[in-house]
């Protein structure tokens, strides 16, 4: 019972965080802000999968957790590497 109540609270909290990250993703003034928001969004999705594993007691999503870390890393580093300043001074 404790687990179910805690899962509901955490699920709502994760959803709130995801919505706020999505707002920053849509509004973010620069591409780096959007990269950061996407990173946070991916981490929140990974947290949600962890929540599912904890509540239902299985390990089906653990591969995604491991791969998700690496994909987030490669994506952010690639974008950060190729970002340039195109604003006219």
């Amino acid at each position: 019972m404790t687990i179910i109540i805690a899962a509901w609270i955490s699920g709502i909290a994760l959803a709130l965080g995801a919505v706020m990250a999505l707002v920053r993703l849509a509004r973010g003034p620069s591409i780096l802000d959007r990269t950061l928001a996407l990173d946070v969004l991916l981490v929140i999705i990974m947290c949600g999968l962890c929540l599912d594993m904890a509540v239902n007691r299985h390990l089906n999503h653990i591969v995604f957790i491991v791969v998700g870390c690496l994909v987030a890393f490669i994506g952010s580093v690639t974008i950060a590497r190729y970002v340039t300043d195109r604003r006219t001074p």
Partner: protein
């Protein structure tokens, strides 16, 4: 509720369930904190500060919750590996994003208390100009 749990699982189960619940809620609150930080903070560097919270502590607490519910030692290395990857990649990502932000001037100069990089960059620029 405690009496019910005692009847079917024992005290250890109840205690582990409570610890799991605390870990889950704590980990989820980290992502709310990151969301609020992303929305409210003024520039990229302060947003990066907020974004690290669910990446390291939030994921750790939720992986701990998984480990406490699975209760098998075989699961621990995989969970540890997942957290280790996150722990290794998060600082490198933050460094690369911060570096790109500084180079492309996506920052509010007046928000910085101290800018150590400015001296080094202007010195490097001066040497580059001399060579030309």
């Amino acid at each position: 509720m405690i009496a019910m749990a005692l009847a079917d699982g024992g005290v250890a189960d109840t205690v582990l369930d409570w610890i799991t619940a605390v870990c889950m809620v704590g980990g989820a609150l980290m992502s709310v904190a990151a969301g609020i930080g992303l929305l409210r903070f003024p520039d990229l560097f302060s947003r990066m500060h907020a974004a690290t919270k669910p990446q390291v502590l939030g994921l750790f607490l939720l992986l701990l919750a998984v480990a406490l519910q699975i209760r098998a030692w075989a699961a621990v290395p995989v969970l540890l590996l997942a957290w280790l990857f996150q722990l290794l990649t998060a600082p490198v990502t933050a460094h690369m994003v911060g570096r790109a932000a500084y180079r492309t001037k996506h920052l509010k100069q007046e928000k910085l208390v101290l800018d150590d990089l400015n001296e080094v960059v202007s010195e490097a620029q001066r040497r580059l100009d001399e060579r030309r």
